[in-house]
Symmetry: C2
Subunit: 277 residues, 2 copies
């Protein structure tokens, strides 16, 4: 007899930051303080909101505070990740090739950059005045979990999460900045995305107010069966969960959407091939 394979697990933390007028250094200090005070630390992975470096509804600060992938904030964040022995994900305004991107970076617990994702779909509104959309899905691996990054609006599209799940994602990380009027997204759409693909999903939002925007809070960690493993309220908080990778196979055995979907996106309608643009 051989021993059963060890169960792969990942201790995940989602940080819900209360929006306020802080400098990038003050935000890093806040992050450092939170992680030092967390009784469950160290974590395998910590996820912060969209544009955590600068804030979201901050006008030209998006450009003024933008940095390259190897800028000073990334250097300090790498040191923080090493000190706290955790992988780290946060959003920031990225300068590259003369463009501005709404990006999120992944740093592992040794301080090494694993991936940089550029938001694929820029929603109508002020973001289109600033950001160029990215052109690729982003996959990486931490502790045996295959992870995809999708920022805010990206994760609302079923095509995006499906593409990542079909490419092998176990866990979707979604830094976001969701306003209170879009509560449907946090409460129903995000759990549906996890359920319909049999993946874990971590949704890291802001709470509080920022220049007239009221954020919803309600960050969450959803299981591959759609269960709310952890759910924040409207206050600043750190959500934690230990994800068991085996839960993915169990959910997909019970409900094999990925297997059963087949060619549904190429089925004919009245003799025409769908989807039609």
């Amino acid at each position: 007899m051989t021993a059963p394979a060890a169960t792969q697990s990942l201790k995940l933390a989602v940080l819900q930051y209360s929006a306020r007028d802080e400098t990038p250094d003050q935000r890093l200090q806040w992050l450092d303080d939170i992680l030092r005070g967390a009784k469950d630390a160290p974590f395998g992975l910590v996820v912060c909101p969209e544009l955590f470096l600068s804030g979201y509804n901050v006008g030209r600060k998006l450009s003024d505070l933008s940095q390259t992938q190897r800028g000073s904030f990334a250097v300090s964040a790498a040191e923080l990740a090493r000190n706290h022995r955790t992988a780290l994900v946060y959003g920031y305004p990225e300068t590259a090739d003369g463009q501005l991107y709404n990006s999120a970076i992944v740093i592992d617990s040794s301080g090494r950059q694993l991936a940089n994702h550029r938001k694929l779909r820029i929603p109508n509104g002020f973001e289109r005045d600033w950001f160029t959309p990215g052109g690729n899905y982003t996959m990486l691996e931490i502790a045996g979990f295959r992870i995809a990054l999708l920022i805010c609006y990206d994760v609302e599209f079923p095509e995006a999460v499906r593409a990542c799940a079909l490419a092998g994602a176990d866990l979707i990380l979604a830094p976001t900045a969701l306003r209170a009027e879009w509560s449907f997204v946090a409460r129903k759409l995000i759990p549906a995305r996890a359920f319909e693909n049999g993946v874990f999903l971590a949704y890291a939002n802001y709470c509080g107010q920022e220049n007239g925007f009221v954020y919803l809070g309600e960050s969450c960690i959803i299981g591959p069966d759609g269960r709310e493993i952890a759910r924040a309220g409207a206050d600043e908080t750190l959500l934690t969960a230990v994800l068991q990778r085996n839960d993915i196979a169990r959910a997909r055995e019970r409900l094999p959407y990925l297997e059963d979907r087949g060619d549904l996106d190429r089925v004919a309608i009245d003799g025409r091939t769908a989807p039609l643009s």
Copy 2:
């Protein structure tokens, strides 16, 4: 000045039938009684559950009671539709070409058959012992509403509802037989499907028990903004709503998912093209 165009509206009824051992004739009689007693009648469209003719978890009755598209049940249902001046949708086990299909038929208020949809995705379990999957999406039009049919498991796939929405559907009709253990589907997945496509969705389920299956009830009518316009409990009931077609444009203007999705299903992952099968 020209008068504003008349608002297109559709008075919809969703019938939640309490599963029991009744003959096809008894089921038609029940339908006749319900519609005669409904204070809101006449309706523009009435939707009954999946396999309404035979029952769902009824073993070889699925085959024994099966009929062709022009069988005696369809003839009686057409007369009923004429008498009640309503279009009518119901599920039935269809015999055709030596195969058995899990189908739903649409009859207009004059008794004419408008469409016949064959379930595209047969879920794992007893259904695969009986049914051959269909091969086409089905679109039709009633009172200016473009309507697509999807049966039970079909509507759980984001690809299916997206394909119908991109082909112009305003309203998705989903006869179903959902067991209590899948409450996530009725409560979150179905509203998400309407929201993410900006379409109305009518979900007609069973309640009660049938040979060991406990059905959820919780049939619903969802708006294109994800709102629960009507929601049943666990008892037999008739849900009604007047759908305003203008609400679709309003929802899509606020949240243009269909426009913004672009080529998300063909974006590259690490140099590969997603989705990968």
